[in-house]
């Protein structure tokens, strides 16, 4: 027996085999075989002779991929396990995986759709936390959309005095408040301070010390609910105006030529009827305004009394202002005729434009000033095409320099090139002006800089590189429709309060922070996620556990000021094993990716990658050292909850942001980096480990079981669907059966399949129908519309597709799953020795 193979030796090794027994993984090198099991605190150890496994031995230099932990297996196991609805009442219980369909019953803690934690058993002391290196974080999606069978948060009105709160820490009334002295006072679960119960809120207690009305009041029995805020919670002590949407459309040469302008104008005519509203029966109160621009800005007066819209050109972009007040922001129904006339005329007016230069800073300023003038919050929809090189504030220059990649200066490419947008973002946040950016670039536009304002104001960036009306229209329109219609709040402030012992220390997402505790969001929609990292500042107790309360104060789309409260209680443990038993790898990966993608702003990507690997190795080494039974150092032992950590981590390390391929533009990297920062766990999971469905057999309502993202898993005779949340590929094997091709494409010949199609032909057969249903259902699950790309085996486009087969070696030098696992093992062993 010999251990510690060096990396140099590693490739020369004949890897013997690897055994799996349910949940326990052991690598055995040098012909020595162990069989090691660890289940429910039990440890089993079996030793077998190498000669027992002659078949495996034949594949020299390889570990059997089936023998290493399979994401598909874990996902399927979890699905099989979760048949009951998930109830949130039990503290410290990890919810089912994001890939599992399950129902949630709110019994006092927030639903995992709102909050997911990396660990549901927090270590009691900071020493333990430091030792384990497991990040303690919560991924919060405050306005998440719930499935139709779950009740949305109730709205609670505590009357003129506003919501009842703890006197000291200002935590809002929640199930963790302990009523004492017959109900006359309550003790805060967060800071233990005792507060008088106001007379109008008084209620008697029953024999268990619970208020009699406990189950009548959402704030006493549920994890998530909303309070109606009073005027004290409003800016300038004034109830807010209904928000406004301002559409700012680039009408420079490229924008017109690509067809973007006419598509937007055409679409807006119908889309304006679907502005967000709380009650579907009444008209939306959201007002709208229109601006077009190239290197000057054109504002439009669409007052209902006008026969024709009026255009007001502002060419002094150095010092932006709004040229009109009355008639810029209007009610859609009142001004419908004028708006339609305007939207009809915009494409005509600029059809012959020769202007190629654009501005960008003044465009945001214009929207901001308009909202300021109207004294309301709102959202800017900017449809932009090119690098803003016209003389104006926020003017940019082309700085795309591939030579910097891999150097210490790489980080500068992710940083904005001018400080202008940072201060502009600050102003936007102060006004509650959220910016959504739709980009249609044909070349470098510096997403890293243009994205500063959207990212700081809770907005979104959409990017349609080489936009062509023909092929990208659907994707863009679906994104736009969804974006306009989705539930959104404005002028929001989020505060996370915790019980004594831990503290929210770091925040990730699309927002702005002017101090260390308040997360300010000019806009917050149902897809935006904020990740919060916690650290110890004292000891936690196992009895009380750790509590957190996330309160979001926002203005609803009807102009109502509200507070949304999510409460979450987790257990605390003094044994590391408990920690490792109640972790969620998907959430940890979500946190790691956000952490790493933010670190690239300040550190070289290599340093970021190394520290990620190192932290994971420490997590696993700590487990090995403290929780697993002693065994040979040659064994790789992974905790049950984290057995996918290496494979997922490898995906993060190989992502375009951390390890770009030669064809990945700087804009793409910046775009992805910003996109990930506000992703929830469901989306980040599929983004890093795409879903690959074999489509050979589609029977019944159930989806076929996915296969692992590796070329080996693809059969030449099959057709596969791959989904990442951003991309959707239909891979067709070169030897795909004719019947299958006829069913899907309506042609028996592989060569006749048009690789440029973006939607499948509508064919009258059950297979085609079902396939299209599946595609539609995938699209419905994601916040962004996925354009379908048909990839024929051995076609040029297959290179792009292969990039998403994340278990394989990547073209940019990323390790395969097997190689990375071995590398990880080596790191762990180094830590242990």
């Amino acid at each position: 027996k010999s251990d510690s193979p060096t990396l140099a030796e590693f490739s020369l090794l004949t890897v013997c085999t690897l055994f799996i027994f349910h949940s326990l993984y052991v690598f055995i090198f040098y012909l020595i075989l162990f069989y090691f099991a660890h289940f429910a605190g039990q440890t089993l150890l079996n030793v077998k002779q190498a000669s027992d496994l002659p078949a495996v031995q034949k594949s020299r230099h390889r570990i059997d991929p089936d023998a290493i932990p399979s994401p598909i297996q874990v996902i399927e196991d979890d699905k099989a396990k979760s048949t009951e609805p998930f109830t949130t009442g039990v503290r410290g219980q990890a919810p089912p995986l994001v890939t599992t369909n399950f129902q949630v019953k709110d019994q006092g803690n927030a639903s995992p759709r709102f909050i997911r934690c990396t660990a549901y058993n927090m270590p009691c002391t900071s020493d333990m936390a430091k030792q384990s290196q497991v990040p303690l974080a919560a991924v919060i999606k405050p306005l998440a959309t719930l499935p139709p069978d779950e009740t949305p948060p109730y709205l609670v009105d505590h009357g003129e005095g506003g919501p009842i709160r703890c006197n000291r820490c200002k935590a809002y009334m929640c199930p963790y408040m302990q009523f004492i002295e017959g109900g006359r006072r309550f003790q805060c679960g967060f800071c233990s301070c005792v507060t008088e119960v106001p007379p109008h809120y008084f209620q008697h207690l029953d024999h268990t010390g619970k208020r009699v009305d406990c189950y009548d009041r959402p704030e006493l029995s549920l994890g998530s609910y909303e309070f109606l805020a009073t005027v004290d919670y409003c800016k300038n002590n004034k109830l807010p105006q209904p928000p406004a949407f301002i559409f700012l459309i680039d009408v420079s040469y490229n924008a017109v030529k690509s067809g973007m302008v006419s598509i937007v104008c055409q679409e807006l005519k119908t889309l304006l009827d679907y502005l967000p509203r709380e009650n579907p029966d009444v008209d939306s109160v959201v007002r709208v305004g229109f601006v077009t621009y190239n290197k000057v800005l054109h504002f439009y007066n669409v007052k209902s009394s006008l026969a024709q819209p009026q255009m007001l050109v502002v060419s002094d972009v150095s010092d932006m202002f709004v040229p009109l007040l009355d008639g810029f922001l209007v009610n859609v129904n009142e001004s419908r005729m004028v708006i339609e006339s305007l939207l009809d005329q915009i494409p005509e007016m600029f059809a012959d434009t020769r202007e190629t230069e654009t501005v960008f800073g003044p465009v945001i300023q214009a929207g901001l000033e308009a909202l300021k003038a109207a004294d309301c919050a709102g959202k800017l929809f900017i449809f932009h095409t090119s690098l803003p090189i016209a003389e104006a504030p926020g003017k940019l220059k082309n700085r795309e320099d591939k030579k910097l990649i891999g150097t210490d200066k790489e980080k500068s490419l992710f940083q904005p090139q001018v400080g202008f947008y940072g201060s502009l973002a600050k102003e936007c946040v102060a006004q509650g002006c959220c910016v959504d950016l739709f980009l249609f670039p044909n070349q470098y536009v510096d997403v890293a800089t243009l994205g500063v304002v959207p990212v700081s104001t809770g907005g979104s960036i959409y990017k349609y590189t080489y936009f062509q009306a023909q092929t990208d229209r659907e994707r863009f329109l679906n994104d736009l429709r969804r974006n306009v219609q989705k539930k959104v709040g404005f002028d929001a402030v989020m505060r996370v309060r915790t019980s004594t012992g831990i503290r929210a220390t770091d925040f990730f997402g699309s927002f702005y922070m002017s101090n260390t505790t308040d997360v300010e969001l000019a806009g917050l929609d149902c897809d935006k996620t904020i990740t919060v990292e916690f650290r110890h500042d004292d000891k936690l107790s196992e009895e009380t556990g750790a509590l957190m309360q996330c309160a979001v104060l926002y203005t609803s789309c009807s102009g109502q000021r509200r507070l949304r409260i999510h409460n979450m209680a987790v257990n605390c443990c003094s044994q590391l094993a408990d920690l490792y038993r109640n972790c969620e790898t998907d959430t940890i990966i979500n946190f790691f990716s956000k952490y790493a993608f933010r670190s690239v702003l300040t550190s070289p990507t290599k340093t970021v990658r190394d520290s990620l690997v190192n932290q994971c190795a420490q997590i696993l080494a700590c487990y090995r050292k403290n929780c697993a039974s002693p065994s040979s150092a040659g064994q790789l032992i992974l905790p049950e909850c984290m057995k996918l950590l290496p494979v997922y981590l490898n995906c993060v390390l190989k992502s375009d942001v951390l390890l770009p391929g030669a064809d990945v533009s700087l804009d793409d990297r910046a775009y992805l980096r910003q996109l990930i920062s506000c992703m929830d766990v469901t989306e980040s999971h599929v983004f890093f480990y795409p879903r690959l469905l074999p489509l050979m057999k589609l029977e019944g309502d159930a989806l076929p079981v996915a296969v692992r993202d590796s070329e080996e898993r693809l059969s030449k005779g099959g057709v596969y669907l791959l989904e990442t949340g951003l991309h959707l590929f239909l891979w067709v094997g070169a030897n795909a059966q004719q019947e299958l091709l006829i069913n899907v494409f309506g042609t028996p010949s592989f060569s006749q399949i048009d690789p440029n199609m973006t939607s499948l032909p509508v064919l009258d057969n059950p297979f085609s129908q079902r396939l299209r249903e599946i595609i539609d259902s995938f699209r419905a699950q994601r916040s962004r519309y996925m354009k379908l790309m048909v990839v024929k085996q051995e076609d040029k486009a297959e290179l792009i597709f292969r990039h998403f087969l994340v278990e394989d070696k990547s073209a940019s030098g990323g390790a395969s799953y097997v190689d990375f696992l071995c590398h990880m093992h080596k790191e762990i062993r180094q830590l242990l020795s």
């Binding site: 504002f299 009026q310 007001l312 060419s315 002094d316 040229p323």
Partner: protein
Amino acid sequence: MATFPEYIAQNEERDGVRFSWNVWPSSRLEATRMVVPVAALFTPLKERPDLPPIQYEPVLCSRATCRAVLNPLCQVDYRAKLWACNFCYQRNQFPPTYAGISEVNQPAELLPQFSTIEYVVQRGPQMPLMPLVFLYVVDTCMEDEDLQALKESLQMSLSLLPPTALVGLITFGRMVQVHELGCEGISKSYVFRGTKDLSAKQLQEMLGLTKPSASQGRGPQAAQPPLSNRFLQPVQKIDMNLTDLLGELQRDPWPVTQGKRPLRSLGVAMSIAVGLLECTFPNTGARIMTFVGGPATQGPGMVVGDELKTPIRSWHDIEKDNAKFMKKATKHYEALAGRASSNGHIIDIYACALDQTGLLEMKCCANHTGGYMVMADSFNTSLFKQTFQRVFTKDVQGSFKMAFAATLEIKTSREIKVSGAIGPCVSLNAKGPCVSENEIGTGGTCQWKVCGLDPSTTLALYFEVVNQHNAPIPQGGRGAVQFVTQYQHASGQRRIRVTTTARNWADAQTQIQSIAASFDQEAAAILMARLAVYRAETEEGPDVLRWLDRQLIRLFMFHLRRSPFLQVFNNSPDESSYYRHQFNRQDLTQALIMIQPVLYAYSFNGPPEPVLLDSSSILPDRILLMDTFFQILIYHGETVSQWRKAGYQEMPEYENFRHLLQAPVDDAQELLHTRFPMPRYIDTEHGGSQARFLLSKVNPSQTHNNMYAWGQESGAPILTDDVSLQVFMDHLKKLAVSSAA
């Protein structure tokens, strides 16, 4: 020889020139002793319908420093085909086209009756006639009623413009909007912040008026300036569009909070108007017509803050140096006036508001460019409406009675030099041999730019006799002055009007009588008054009065001292600026009326008769008609007004009373119809509040101090502490005797 009055009238009729002295003292020393300088009132475009247009270019003296125009005073050698310049004595060859010249075949410019002659400069075929440009700059911060009236006036004016004239529209309130004309569907305008001044170059870029540089090398066609652009288009093309646009103009929509003035970006609006024309039609005649409903309250050129509780500056504030915006605003408008005038553009200001609008600060815009300044209470008054309509008056040929972008050049004989000019002009800083070192008014030059001219525009020109006492001029010598006015006629033609005039020299020691006889009292009065007003504008008030008292005291000066041109008491700074503006541009007759109003009396005693401007003329049984130029006032004496109240005029048996009442009204109407700007018409009676206009003008021969001494039946006492003419004259006589010592 005709008498001097006849001679003066004839000269004025023919040349539009009136000299203070019609025989000139022959040396500097003597001229200085005359107190009143040799000076002239010159009306460049004096209406001369009889003048035949000469369709060729003037012949110029070949000496580079002279370039005088061939004129009837030149000596001509018909055989040698030579002429001698009467200013520099250079002998010049006639051009080849004059080959046929002889004693019997003389060109018009050599005939004595053509001492004033007008040349029409022929342009090449590729140089089209310059279109007239009218740029309306319209305030939208006003009451709906006013705005409506203004909109109607503007719409009406479109029908008065020649179809080829270019028009443009700028509106302003809190923002400034430059309207693009002739757009289909959506109406377009460029909007500018009212608080930020822009240079012409910035404006050009922002309006997208930069010419594409690609067309530079394309030869002559590209070099031709564009004759219209998106903002200035021919009336015939866009009058419907512009009429609609004007019709849709709304009051400035920005909210005005209680206790505030609306934010009015007048300064920037004017700057943009000037800039727009500067970069599109430099050196082409153009009118910027500014319609102002109140003071500028923000940005460069603001004259008052937006807080209503702080009133606009008064003379009192100005004297106390308490008008904090005045200097800066004046500087802004002066710069604008400078830019406009150097490009030949006129700025008119129509200020219609009850309170002051800042004419004091803006006056240079009109004064330096020859623009009109009109002041009224509201755009919804006939004063504004009629006056505005009268701007577009046409002559018999159907051309506007206005000329553009003129330059006036003066050539003098060696013995005399030009000291300066006072009138609606700016200096072109042309130094030359005939420029005096002593400046009076706008001096130091022999050329002035007069951007806007009409037939009554009159400049005062001051000369200095430089001949030394010991270099006598030969007996019978004459000093000559040539006025060369180049201008753009309303028809678009370029024209040159040349007036050459000469006066005899006389030795003051021997011929003092003839010099004295040649004195033109009226002209001298106006010339001195202009000088006084000019000084009042530039110096402190009382000093000017003292200077005037020292210089010369006569009847006119009594009234001049009391006139609003020098006195600011009871007048706002804007009113003073307005009165002075009019005084500085009107011709002699009108100016005389301004200083000493005309008073007619109507009574049963006989036909209407002019009466003394004296309180003794105010009698109960008289109707008085007073014309102060700015006001036409009908005053019904006590008895007459009682009769009128009793309604006698309605009764058939008192028809003659009805006629009596009607007579001054008819006369007033005639005045109202011809005068520009239209005077304020006042119908008042004894004891009426408006009678104060009359009472403030008449000589207070009876006041509350001395009324009983004069007897009660002769006129109305005036409640004033001002001295009467009688006292003034007594004092003067005393002074004249003592100062002679």
